[in-house]
Structure formats: C-alpha cells, structure tokens
Symmetry: C2
Subunit: 389 residues, 2 copies
C-alpha cells in the first residue's frame, strides 16, 4: 500500500450535535505519557474522577463511574444491567434516542411498552400516565434532552409517576449534563447515563453513568448474568472500587481528558455554566427568528444546548451545510429520522457555547441563505442576538 | 467538595501486560483539535485507518475496522455477532482470556464446549482434535497470544481443523498484533480482534477487528438481532462504510491516535518490528535465566512480547513490584488467575520493546531480588542479555 501521510485536520468550529469543542487544557492532558491502569496514581485519578462526576450529576451515588465506551455504550450499560428477560419496560419515545432505547430493550429480552410522543415535543406527565395505564413496568426510560429534536423534557414529575407505579426510572442525560441542571438525587432518578462529547466538552469515548441504591438492589438480585460482559456493572463496580479487580484495561488517555474537563466544569461552576448556555441559546434563537427562520420546538420546551430550526422551503440543506463547512469551517448538524432534510441542529455545548460562535454562525447562515435566494433583512439576526449577549 | 488539582502523572517505564509506552508522535496527534465524526476529513481518516489495519492484519477483508471500546469489547463484538442462541461454540482455554471468551459465549446463549489446556502451555492440534471429537461446533475460538501466561499458540493447523469440521475460526490477537506475524488471510482466520494498547503502542480505547466473507455470510444469515446494539457489526459496517449511516459518535481523538500508531508500525515495517520484538525477548530471557530465574513457558512456546517468569521461593511478589515502581518507575505485571502471586509478567510490547528497557529491568530486578535475599551473581543478567542485543 501507499504510505499514508501526516494527519492534517482543519480546525473546525463545532456547532453540531457533538462532539463539541475541547479546551486546550483537555487536549494537553491527553498528551501526557501513559501510565498503567492499576498504577496507584491512576487509581487516585479514578477516585478523583468519580468524586467530580458525583458533583456534576449532583448525586451521592457510590456507583458513579465512566463506562469505557461512548454515550450509546452507557445507554446499553444501564439497560442490560437493569433488565432481566421478560421484564416489562416502558420507553417514552420522542426522537432518535428513545427509539434506540426501545431497540436495546428488545435485544435484552425486555417486554417493550412504547409511548410515542410527536418528535419535537417533550414527554409530559400525561404521556407517561397513558403508558402506565396499560402496563406495569419495572423500568421507565426517558430522554432528558432529545438531541435529535432539541426538546427538553422535565423529569421530576415523571420520576414521581414511575415510582408511584413501582418502577425504577432511567434518564438519558447525554446532551443535558453540564449544560443545564441535572439533579439525580433531588429528582430521585435511579439510573442515568451521559456522554463526554457534549456539554462536558471532552472528546467522545467515555460514558459517565450513575446508579442509585434501588438500582443496585435490583442489579444484585438478578437471577441471570447481564448479557454483556464488557458492560456488567457488578464487575465494573469491583474494578472501579477498592478491590480493583482486573476487568478490562481502562482507556487511560480518555480518563486523563475526562478528569481535566470535569475540573474545568467545576472551576466555572455549574450555575454559571448553565447561565452561559441559557444566554447564548436565547441570543441564537432571537437571531434566527429575526432572520425569518422558525424553530422546531415551542418556546419553553427548547434545550439550551441544541437548537433545531426548520429549513425554509426552497433552501437546499446540503448546500448550506457544505458552504458553512467549506467557507467558514463551521459544522452544524443535519436532521435525523423524521427531521432528515427538514431541520438543522445547531449545538451550543460546553466550549462551543460562546458569544463569538453565536455571532459567527448567524453571519455564516445569513450568507448561505442569501446565496440560496432566501429573503432576509441583512444584519437583522446579528442585531437581535447582540442585544441579549 | 474540595477542588481537585492539576494532573501530575509520573512518567513510567511500562513493562507490564499493557498499556505499553506510546510514541511522542501519537501523544501529539491526540492534542489536535476535535473534528466532527461525519466531517469529510474524518471520513477520510477512517478510510486510511481501515487500509492500514488491513496491512497490519495482513488481510484484504472489507470489514476491518476499530470498535469503539477496548480489546474486551472487540472480543464481545466477535462473539455476539457470530453466535446465535443454541449455537455450539468450542473455546480452547489456556489462560484468562479463553476463560473470558467462555463466559461471554454463555451470555450469548451459545452452547459452550470448553477444551482446557494447562496454563502456560499453548493449544495444540491434539487439544483441538479432542474437543472436535465430542462436538460439532459452529465456531472455534483460540487465543493466539495468552497475555495471562505468555504462551504462543500456532494457529494455522488449528484453523484447518476447525474448517474441516465445518466451523468458523475466531482468533484473539490482542497481544500479538504488530509484535509477531498475524496473517489473517494466509491462515484463513474468519474473525479476529485485537487491542490498541499492546504492540500497536497506542493508548487503550479501541479494538481493531476483521471479519472474513464467510463470517459476514454467517452474520447476514442471522435470524435474530445480535444482543448488543453498540457492537452490532451490521450497523457498524454501514457507519464505517460508504453509507456513513449514523450509529454512535466515534471516539475522534482515539482514532487520531490509532492512525498515527499504525503509521509508525508501517514505517518501521512489520518484519523489522517482529525482529526487534524477538531480539529483545531473547536477550531478556537470557538475562533472567542467567540471574537464576525460571521462565513459566517452555522454550519454543514463548511469546516475544510477554515474558512470564516464576517468582522464586521466599521472594515477596508485592515488595519487588513496589520497589521497581517506586525506585525505578518501572511497571511490570503480576500474575493472573492460576499464576496470581506466583509469576511476574514482563511486557516488551511496541515502544516498550527496546534494548535500554531490557537492560534497565534486569538491573532493577537484580537490585530488588538481592534486597529480598535471593542469591545471584551480580551483573550476570546484564552480561548474558548484552551479548544478544
């Protein structure tokens, strides 16, 4: 074969659904020499990571660790450990990630009860009540922040309904964690997974998870082994715990990165970080609407970190995204599933959520839309956004 | 919580069972800014990685990709995709990793036929014949390089036996790949997995896998979905293939690292790399034996990259390894399973396999053993090793 040359990646402004941009301190952490995964210094690093993850999840859960795979591996971890064959499992589906959970529930031999909610809408207590009226699930699964649509589901009332029905509650916080409040203990969430490449602004590759005592009790009472060895929490608990029983070899460098990104999150402070995400989101929406674009999600139901906007009639999806990438080095996301070709997804996650990025993406979109013949008032987007920044 | 300080990892000489040391070019590649996982430049990087993985596996297999998890995730990928519930699966067990495969086979609902071989011995054609005499497996699983013992199993005759019996052949090459010949096509191996943190000298976090046409045919003829969504090869094929169908978000930075480590492997050249591993192994063994230590594995059956040596009577395992780590910053591995407390495992993998490391670990061991009251002739180890370096 012909020799492959040196890597030459163009620096991009990442305003898609993830990965988000990564702070130079995190990049630098990854260039540290490797250490052994059972080295006392690495064990200390694992302890520190668990402590910081607990702070970000706002939980005291003992089992709060990072799974050695991406967010989807975290989803699978929660499901394969909490479901035994034949268990009834209720999944609320309002986008791609609820659909994915449903798929995995069936692969686990769970009896799936699916509550479908229109894409772009959050899951409401009424939706869940309908599902609970026709089932007696052992587990209720809800996506907090639907990355495929930008809808924000309020969890507390849903958790209460699930608990009243005698079910455990599983939350997907892949996109929400570290971008808006995620209060595992206060809300009573029993199991939760997230990803590193969204509002934590760490490269993809790990999936933080946390299990409550009730979830651990269910897990310990299993009659069968979880179907995955790699994601078996009872074994991972011993690897991340004081026993340090060899399981797999933890991705050392990714754990360096996660530790540094968690430090950055806590240095900024959760409240300040959430306020920054809210402010930049509001400015972006004001700008997009002033340009004549329409948001997919209704006001009050919109995520701060993922903004879905309808593609106007007559405007070509691919041409616009390609121009943004080639002429501005800006990545935004296309639509998924029901929204393929119909919406753009503009992410403002972690390090990507800045004043400058809001302004830049509005300028770039104005340029691209104008070339597509879309009529707009020049400068209106920037003017509206600037007032809020 | 109290703020967690800056990361301060002591540089180590990694001579354990993995991770191995990483070339500065690989560390530098990981500090490159993140790009999107569907960015045209990242898609190009995935293509280049597949091409280089094929060169290292010595295969033309179309489906040759890196799984987004560590070596154990690669093991699970091969098994969950190739096994359907009720399938008879023969696993040759001569250490920890055959044991692990057996565990996963049962979690997949496979009917396990286990052929046990003494720890420290390779699997022979006679061993496999015994197993085939009492079963009619659809899949035969063998570990090429048993990291828990240092035994090297020769695969070609085993592959032929499996094929004659109508079974597919799965090989674990986690520790062997890029350290000794691994010839997937010439040997006729149907499915193979490896890890990045051994002789590829890339941080842990990805698992290269490759599937032959026969394996893909079995996979496509499945009546049931594989039990893992995250590791479903039919979906991963579309993500890594021309379709680029969104599956999970690939670990961008780990893929940067793998690409650079593969470039380094191919720049050195496979034959030169294998010769280096062989030379350093022989020198280390000569040194250890001259010091009066005894190897676990018989001559002719020893791996070049993982050297198991018996801990002499009266010498304390933990004290020696602790001294090596604290006074020399050298990590060597302890024993696993049957060899816990009874053997050390000295890895000479990838960047860790150097003349200087062989000399240094012999000096350090001489110091530690002498402190433990073990009688040896000072300098004998170094002298014997130097002749071969």
């Amino acid at each position: 074969m012909q020799a492959i040359g040196e890597m030459n990646i163009t620096p991009r402004i990442l305003l898609g659904p993830g990965p988000s941009m990564v702070h130079p301190r995190v990049l630098r952490a990854m260039s540290a020499p490797l250490t052994g995964h059972l080295d006392p210094e690495f064990l200390q690093l694992m302890e520190e990571t668990k402590e910081m993850l607990r702070a970000v999840f706002q939980t005291g859960n003992f089992l709060t660790i990072a799974i050695s795979g991406t967010g989807s591996a975290g989803m699978e971890t929660c499901l394969v450990n909490l479901i035994e064959p034949g268990d009834e499992v209720l999944v609320c589906v309002n986008g791609v990630f609820g659909t994915r959970m449903s798929d995995i529930v069936e692969r686990c031999g769970g009896k799936l009860v699916r509550v479908d909610v229109p894409w772009g809408k959050p899951v409401t207590p009424e939706d869940l009540k309908k599902g609970l009226a026709k089932s007696k699930p052992k587990l209720v699964c809800v996506v907090h922040a639907e990355t495929s649509t930008g809808a924000w589901t309020q969890l507390p009332a849903l958790v209460n309904l699930a608990h009243e029905a005698g079910a455990l509650f599983l939350a997907d916080t892949v996109t929400s964690l570290a971008g808006c409040p995620v209060k595992i203990d206060e809300w009573g969430v029993d199991a939760v997974y997230s990803g590193t490449q969204k509002c934590l602004s760490c490269p993809p590759g790990l999936s933080p998870v946390s299990f409550s005592e009730a979830a651990m009790k269910k897990l310990r009472a299993r009659k069968t082994k979880p179907q995955s060895w790699y994601l078996d929490v009872s074994m991972l608990e011993k690897y991340w715990g004081q026993e340090r029983v060899y399981h797999h070899t933890a991705p050392i460098t990714m754990n360096y990165a996660l530790r540094e990104s968690l430090r950055l999150v806590l240095e900024e402070g959760l409240d300040a970080r959430f306020a920054r995400h809210e402010r930049n989101h509001k400015a972006l929406v004001a700008g997009l609407e002033a340009m004549g674009l329409k948001m997919v999600v209704a006001p009050g139901e919109r995520l701060w970190m993922l903004n879905s906007v309808h593609i106007p009639d007559g405007v070509q999806d691919a041409a616009v995204r390609s121009l943004l990438l080639k002429e501005f080095n800006i990545e935004i996301g296309g639509g998924l599933g029901d929204f393929k070709g119909k919406a753009w997804r503009i992410g403002l996650m972690g390090e990507s959520s800045t004043r400058n990025h809001v302004l830049l993406v509005l300028v770039a979109l104005e340029c691209a839309l104008t070339k597509q013949g879309f009529k707009l008032k020049p400068g209106a987007g920037i003017e509206a956004a600037s007032k809020l920044l």
